[in-house]
Symmetry: C2
Subunit: 412 residues, 2 copies
Amino acid sequence: MTRNGSSASLPLGFRWGATTAGIKASGKPDVAIAVADQPAIAAAMFTSNQFVAAPILIGQRHLKATEHKMRAVLVNAGNANCATGDPGLEHCRQSCAAMGDAIGCVFDEVFPSSTGIIGVPLPIEKLVAGIPKAVAALGNTPDHADAFAHAIMTTDTKPKVASESFEIDIAGEVKRVSLWGCCKGAGMIGPKLANAAPHATMLVYLFTDIAASASQLKEILHDSVEKSFNAISVDGDMSTNDTVLLLASGASGVALDANITNEFDAALQRVCDSLAYQVVDDGEGVTHVVTLQLTGAASDEAAATMAKSIANSPLVKTAWSSGDPNWGRLLAAAGKAGVPFDPATVTIAIGGLEVFANGVRSAAWDETATHERMSQRHYTIAINFGMGSGTCKFVTCDLTHEYVSINADYST
Amino acid sequence: MTRNGSSASLPLGFRWGATTAGIKASGKPDVAIAVADQPAIAAAMFTSNQFVAAPILIGQRHLKATEHKMRAVLVNAGNANCATGDPGLEHCRQSCAAMGDAIGCVFDEVFPSSTGIIGVPLPIEKLVAGIPKAVAALGNTPDHADAFAHAIMTTDTKPKVASESFEIDIAGEVKRVSLWGCCKGAGMIGPKLANAAPHATMLVYLFTDIAASASQLKEILHDSVEKSFNAISVDGDMSTNDTVLLLASGASGVALDANITNEFDAALQRVCDSLAYQVVDDGEGVTHVVTLQLTGAASDEAAATMAKSIANSPLVKTAWSSGDPNWGRLLAAAGKAGVPFDPATVTIAIGGLEVFANGVRSAAWDETATHERMSQRHYTIAINFGMGSGTCKFVTCDLTHEYVSINADYST
């Protein structure tokens, strides 16, 4: 049972809050907190970037120190606390301590995140002053969760939320398991999340009231992220702060066991898929969201390598911006990935229309019709390499003037 | 002794010509030929793209069949003869046969190249009809060489040529060795040229009158290309047709031996460096040419990997377009390459001004002065990783609205 937006049933055992601390120049809410009534079991994945922000390093230490039990999440938007050296680490620790004081837990039960500009010292006084205000605003209604989703935004034009819940009969008693997740991210989106080595601008927070062990959560999160957040790209630029956090409160009274693992896995995957798609759909300057469906590759890995090469090709992405059915650029981008294939066995369909087969432009190719399909905001490009059973689904977007404007905007 | 442009002494033993065959929609010259009076020794490198154009495959076969002895080069612009299947191969063979008939050599002594749109059948009748006209226009003056350089252009705004010559005293007799090269390429520039596996949109033709063996030429060409054409990027999109060809006529009467190899190597490197820089400088929509000087990396390979990651980062390139001194993006782009480094030992200087050191923004950083340096068309970004002795010099450019316009331009 899928529910989207604020009307879904929220997982039990959590409260959310937000406030405006003055970190964002816009004056919009910029501190978001989530608090678990009891220590929640946590699993997290972080950016693979070699250059990581302070909260990534601190968050990893806290997970280890508490054996993956968290009481709170503390997010600030407007400043990434990245490239800030030792002072940045100290600021992050201070903010976690302030959060711990405010809700009555130790500092390392607080999971910190920051997103925003790189290289500018974190305004720690503002953040610390904002924490009690955010705590005073805590609550467990959809409005509270929505406030959290809004306060983590930076260049996002809208909050991104997804939820799922399902019922299960346990010894005659019907119980409900719920998931709610939100995320932020519009540019610097080329995630490659791993279990080690952190850095981030895509921030994802997933909450559920199922009862599970840290190792169970880690495994299921890894699988879901590989097929969702690790299979999207806006500009291919991996952030220094990318983070995905999954917290399980156990408050549903339902344990993650063999009877419901398939249902829970599927629900988590749908939440992640929805959030990942929303990230691309709200990507900086995006006017077309393209789902690449690669099949027939020698392996899944080969398919993924070619999908990323296509998704991050400036020539492919600029052609998409105008609906140009330039399939030659698709083949050239796949070919530069270094994975061998034979054009003679490749078929390409854009929006369901075959454009290339048997090594040449399809005889039936209708350029005007293809352009019309590509003029829609959402469409699929299917490429079958005719070699093996490797597949990859990858969601990406076009490269537009607006993307350049957003990221070139600079005034001294 | 360096000479640039048409005033340089041309290598002996070659003639050049061009004509308008009607392949380019613009009606500009689109067939360029070069003819060696005697079979010239050839070395060539081709794109590493898995998806390659017909002339790349045919050119490789011809080099093998003739044991690297070529009589002629036949280039058409306006159509890449790529993704054209078996008919494309047949068209390429036909054009080589027509060229051979016109100058009196066998078809496999002709080295073919094509550049332009992908996936459209080559207008072979137009090309074949143009060959006798191009042959009638052959000559060995600077104007003839310039005509060749013009006819190979596609989206280039100007021809790109470079030349060198030097004198050597051999047993009391002063002899002159000359090199002249030209190239085309403005978009789809992210070459990775290798000795095998072909495909191309950057086309480079180098002519010299030194006498050398094919193996000598191959080795020297490989070294020169690694440091020049393989160390530039406009958009990181490796073409399906990239080709670098070096032809040596031997007409200078000077053999490439141990006495002059250093001088010749250096001259060839300068010609390649000049042409490669010109490609970036004339890149599609380029307003800033940035030379990345990476030092102190763990290895040259590590430095090159990070340089390419920086050079192909949309966030870095858009910041450059407005002169935004956003050094955080430089570190994030280096960090996503997967090469380990410690920010605490990194220093970054933009246009000679230090912006980052000891893990944080430099105390002495002057944002306005840095922006001014970045407002110049040509400047250098020096990054020292403080780890080892690995270095890489890489020339790249910004990403502008104009690039998007050029490549998104499409009308049904």
